[in-house]
Symmetry: C2
């Protein structure tokens, strides 16, 4: 620890895959809270695929991070000074403080976390945005029924692992897709999915067919790319496709993608199979937050939902960890330990 | 009239656009009803774009018509002989008897029509499958709200004209797309759409932008092709796209469509705009039939929904009329008068 704060700013807009030089680590003085403000010491920084979208200009559901501005991100922090009646020194809070070690807040958008209920890092994981993305996408769009088949990619990750376990709770067959034998073994043996396929398998489409003998009723789309191409022909009539991410496509250069043009076949599948494709982000279903916390914490206590964290140490590790996340180098929810967790 | 029945069978599976030689007109004896059967004399045959799908093999929501089998289709018919207690000579019924002048039925799937309520041809038009397609797609998927903007193509046709008028009833702005100045004038002046654009306009995308200054909230997809390409960039966040037809794509040869590949951009739009794309056919919402008949007949009586029929004479005209339908040669609901309407 020093008396300096650290922060990571966006140095350049990535072209294709982000590289380390697209980020810059800076040191600054630890700021002093003004009237009504609190000073936060960041403990956990969550890294999530959506951040790739914030690094590029162009239409999206949120404005991009400005060049030379602090990268945004969800964080778990300790209140170390408070000029705000609602927060006391020592409180642990969920904040959206971004890639930095200290931050000021006027209290808006902060949510207190009770360290007795669960490890505080889960507030940005299974009990936070990724868990709620899985929960709301399944609850509002996927709607799996007993006996149906649910497929999800990035199945060892924060969102995918919750999707498959929620499918099992609903009585559905859960088929995961993940990168490599270790992750697949974890998804089947630890998380209880019925099957898990390696997306590197050259015969992914054939393996998927075997793993889904009754077709696919729900495909939780969080990766795009070749997994989607393999899934589409196997979707059953009336299948539902919640679309919350397209990680495989995030790095695609803007402009034309080489043919053949698969869009007409996609629209034809929507028609003849009467598919529902629906995009969403977690904040669209904010009204479900209470139900999510209640159900998910219950499932965690009962052991019906398990989760795994993948931690890198120190704020300076964030760029490499994020670049790795987009390539599937993480194994579980990607976190950066920015400072000591004394909770 | 002769003592012979006529029928049109599928002679060959079309490659691309259907041509007259894909059909064959045959004469047969008028059949004799067996025990429990009725003999139907077909009065009205409805021609609809979905029939193109039935002419090809390959996965769809219904089996294709077999080679040398009678082309299928919705019909309005008179019971001319009855060995069935539920039907009497002279009854007018809705049937699915296909492209022929006489048909037998065991009564299953027949629905009696009251000629006093509306012209019997409307049972295959605004009060039938096309009207209910518009009604259910808007009710269950489009869900237009007052002040929103609804776009529909083939706006002078059976489905499109109802879609736009239902949008107006909901308080939304209705923008139609149709082929040629006459149809556009009808759509605006007679049907009461706010705007109607000519799909032949080389600057369709620009015109669409001007016609939808607040973007598009509902696009009722019944044509596909370049209209969809023009609409997609103008869709607002949370827009809904009921997909009930892709007439522009029906004739596309199977196999690869030349690039660029627009599918990734489509999926990205689904994600970042949180679109809902949902395919449906009218039978998916059969439970709404009572509500549809009640609302639509009420709107017809009040003059809130107008409709137009485009009639060709004689069963032999059906192939050319159907080929024309796929090219937009019709102006209103396409019907074939197979026999005299004495109702």
């Amino acid at each position: 620890m020093t008396n300096q704060a650290q922060r990571i700013v966006l140095a350049a807009r990535p072209v294709g895959e982000p590289k380390p030089t697209d980020f810059r680590l800076e040191s600054t003085a630890i700021p002093t809270p003004g009237p009504g403000q609190v000073l936060l010491r960041i403990i956990w920084l969550s890294l999530d695929p959506y951040m790739r979208g914030r690094m590029s200009e162009g239409p999206s559901y949120a404005a991009p991070v400005a060049i030379d501005a602090v990268m945004e991100g969800g964080t778990v922090a300790e209140v170390v000074q408070s000029n705000n009646d609602h927060f006391a020194k020592g409180d642990i809070v969920l904040s959206h403080s971004g890639w930095q070690s200290y931050a000021l807040s006027d209290g808006k958008g902060l949510r207190k976390i009770d360290p007795k209920l669960a490890p505080i890092s889960t507030a940005v994981g299974v009990l936070g945005m990724p868990g709620m993305t899985a929960y709301t996408g399944m609850h509002e769009i996927g709607k799996p029924k007993a006996g149906e088949t649910v497929v999800v990619a990035a199945a060892s990750g924060a969102v995918g692992s919750a999707v498959g376990q929620i499918a099992k709770i609903a009585g559905a067959r859960a088929v995961g897709i993940a990168g490599g034998a270790d992750k697949c073994a974890y998804v089947k043996d630890e998380l209880g999915f019925d099957e898990c396929l390696d997306h590197r398998d050259p015969d992914l489409a054939g393996k998927l067919k075997d793993a889904c003998p009754k077709g696919i009723d729900v495909y939780f789309e969080n990766v795009g790319g070749k997994v989607w191409d393999a899934v589409l022909p196997r979707l059953n009539p009336f299948a539902r496709v919640p679309v919350c991410g397209l990680i495989a496509d995030y790095n695609a250069l803007s402009g034309d993608v080489p043919g053949p043009n698969r869009a007409p076949a996609l629209m034809r599948a929507v028609l003849v199979k009467r598919l529902t494709l629906r995009g969403f982000i977690v904040s669209d279903f904010a009204s479900l937050h209470g139900a999510f916390l209640k159900d998910m914490s219950h499932w965690l206590r009962e052991g019906k939902v398990k989760h795994r964290e993948f931690v890198t140490e120190g704020l300076a590790s964030a760029p490499e960890a994020f670049i790795g996340l987009l390539k599937g180098a993480n194994f579980g929810k990607q976190l950066v330990r920015v400072g000591p967790d004394n909770s």
